[in-house]
Each structure stands twice: as C-alpha cells, then as structure tokens.
Amino acid sequence: MLKAISSIVIKKDLFEINGKSQPLPENDGTLKGLMSAFYHSLNMSYPKFHKMDNLSKLGVIGVELLKQEHDLESYQDDAIALHFQNASASLDTDWVHQQNINEGKAASPANFVYTLPNIVLGEIAIRNKWYGENLFTLADQFDQDRWMKTNQVLVAQNKAEAVLGGWVEVLEEAFELELYFVAKE
C-alpha cells in the first residue's frame, strides 16, 4: 500500500508543510510576486525559473519545498513518477495566447510553449533530472482517492517506486497547490 509521506499545501493565505502551518514569505500580494518570494526564500539559483508560467512555477516551488522535507536523492533517476491533476489545464497561459489572437497581435512562442498543462511535469523533470513516468489528468475538483488509485496502479505495475504530484491549479490570480510524496509504507 502507498502512503503519503510528505505534503506541501500552498493556497491563498495558507502555507502548510506536512499539515503544519508556516508563514508565507513576504510578497506583494500577486501570484507572480508570491512565486518570486518563495524563489528567494529557497535561495534558488535557477534562471530558467523566471521564464516559466505561474503553473510551472507553482509546481517547481512545491517540489523544492518538498525536497527539504524528504530526501529524494536516494531514488534512482526514473523511480519517481510525476502525476499531477488540475481543473483549468493550462488555461491561464492559453488565455494570454488567445488574447493575442483576438487583438490581432503576433503569437509569442515563449508563451505558446506553456499552453499544455504537462509542461509543469517537464519543468520538474528538467530541474531534478528525473526520467520517470509522466501523467497529467484533468478534473473539476481534486479527487485524492482517485488520484491515489492511479498511483497504486503505477506502483503495482512496477513503473515507479514512489509518486510525486497531486493538485496544481492556476487561473489568473486564483491558485492551489496540494503536493504529496507517496511511497510504499
């Protein structure tokens, strides 16, 4: 059986590590500002971060926080599956691309590349050099039992030893991250 070993939750005015409330880093009240504040509080030196859309930033920050709680270095580079879910896919970034079209402006390749929700999996994989299974699914609400059932299948089929993921949702200024690291008990 799989069990959630560590968790990171970041929502509006809420930040929890393993269920314990934490102070949010000082920020300007925007999602972009909050992501920058986390980036600095984590002392990250990763210039690529600044090119990412907010969905990818939120996922990458969550994983950085989780790595401080749990040693993931001991796993082989393809042993951790990434399985994330959300409601709005990449609509936050899609909307920017669509507005360019609506207004007759040129499309931006740097923006268009983020118009797929699984790009956050790619950003996490690149940052951590993880070559494991990838799965991005959509649902109106996070169904943790269902999400976990799929994880059980991935592990039962010997495709992963552990799963990192959960709920990563961004639409304009609304956002939610519920990130779990699950592994065998």
Partner: protein, 367 residues
Amino acid sequence: MSYIGAEHIISPLGVGAHVNFAKAQQGISGLKKHEHYDHAPSNIPFGIIEDYNLEKGLTKLESLVLQSCQYSLSRMNDLEGKWLMIFCTTKGDVDRLAAGLSKEVRPQFVAEVVASKLDIQMDIEVVSNACISGLLGVVMAHDYIATNNYDKVMVIGADVFSEFTCRGFESFMALSDRECKPFDANRNGLSLGEAIATAVVTGDKKDFMACPKEVLGGASANDANHISGPSRTGEGLYRSITKALKQSALQVGQIDAISAHGTATRYNDDMESIAFHRMGLTKQPVNSMKGYFGHTLGAAGLLELVMCMQSMDNNEMLATKGCESPGTTEKINVLTENKAMQLNTILKTTSGFGGCNAAAVIRKVEC
C-alpha cells in the same frame, strides 16, 4: 493481460478504421490546402474533417467523439461490467476560448457531455499530456485492466483543428509549407491535422465482435532536457521503449515493425532515429502516419495505434507518405513503399512537448 478492439477513426480520409486504412493503403492523404476555411492559412496544407454530421446542441468535437464512441460500443458482444472512459486530448474545444474564459473551455467538459449521452455509465478520466496523450491513455487502460480496477475501458483520442493551435505552431515556424515529409532528408516541418479515434480495452477477447489485438504493455518517460526541443540523445524515448519492452516481456528482436511519431520536424525525426539506433531497432521497418493525417496531437497515439491494428489484419505495413529519400542522423529502415509482411508485434511510439515520450507494444491474437 488486456485486449484492444472495437476500434474506430474519424478523419479527413473518412469514417471507420477500415476506410481510413484502405485510403492510406492507396496512398491517399487527408492533407490539402483549404481556400475558404476559417482561420486556416490558405497557403499551407491541413488535415481538416469537412464532411460530418453535427449532433443537436453539440460542437463538432463533441459530436464526432460521441459518434465514434457509439460505433465502438456497437462492436462489443458484451457491455456488462465496470466501465472507465479515458478521454485524451491536448486542447478539447479550445475555440470556445475566443469568447472568454468559461468552464466549457475545460477539456473535461467534452468528456462529461459525451459520457452523459452514452447508454452506459462510465467513470471519466481525462488525460492531457501533450502529443503522447492518446497512447498514454491506452497504456493506462491496459494497466487498469491488468490490476482489475475496471472491466472495460473506452479510450478516446481527440483533437480538432483550431486557430489557437495553428497560430502557435506558426509562431514556432514548425509548419511545413507543403504536405509534411516524415524522415525525409528534405523535411521542413509538420502539418496539422484533426482526428477522433476510439477503441475499447478489456481483459477478455470474447468481449469483441471482431478479433481484437493484445496490449502487451507500455510506459512513459521524460527527457529531463528541454520543454520544447527534442533530446539530442533520444533519452526519454529510449527509456520508454526499454520499459515498454520490459513490461511486454519481449526482446528487441521480437519486434516486427515500428509505428513511429515522425512529425517531420528536423529535430524530432533525428531524435527518434537516435533512440531507435540506441535500442538496436535499425532493421525493423518503420513508418510515420503524419503524411496521411497530419499531426493530430492528442489523438495521434491512438489514431496511429488503430492503423497498426489494421496493418496486422492486412499483413501490411504502410509506406511513410511524403518520404522519398530518408535522411536522419542515424540510419533506420523507413518504409517508402507499402510492405507485405507478417506482423505479430508492433511497437508504437510517441513524443511530445514537456519532454514526454510513450511507447507500447501490441500483438496479433488468434481468435
């Protein structure tokens, strides 16, 4: 163990898996220039479905997905049991976004609408994992059946042409100005297409009216290299094929042929040739279906797997339409003409943005 059957395709080539295979077998392509189609630049060929019936109150995508599902269900002997629908798409009905953000733009909305109109109750899972979505859906279906989580899984791969996607690929300068030429030395980009493909995966071959194929196994892997550029070493594709073979309990030498992704962009096709070379898969016949259908994004993996199933029935691997003189970093055996051959096992591969790759193996079944 799982079986895949009751397959169906709706594409510019026509309606039905047999019809699509027969047209492709004759070398007919669904790609052409559209003079009067909204949002499609008239000087670039696209694969757009022009002849179709709209269901009352439904969009083109919803209508075609519903029709394809209904056909697949009609080809089952047994509809009993616990069903799952896996809807695989990159963008769903993204055209709706032009009018603003709404819940109806969410890809899962299409799946909910279609599920509500089917006679059978199904759980819904929506996979949006770039251009590996359709094949990943089949791999998931196989894994759910193998672990007894469901009795039957309806897998759907569906994406329609949209101004949204067209303008994006244009901005990448990834669109070819002529029908795409996968694996050709002179390839210069992809062609966009649209298609709907469906199939049912179950644990019992007797569930199907026509003889199904066995899904031996599959897997996905990330390149961990770049979000839009293919890996120079083909790492993720190499790893996904290695894992898919392990899942299938097969050796490289037991693969009869490969249905590749073959988008006809310079770097993608080179990357695939490198991964196949690293695997020792240089002798097996390889084809790409993109010259017949264009790149159908989230539908591609399932659409092209269904074409593999048809190939098995016809004992014929199809030519890579558009490829006249193969030219990739590593030499692989790209088919430039249809080839009659025994096909017991076929490897299907896909790769997508976000560095994702998926591979799966199917096997012919005696019924």
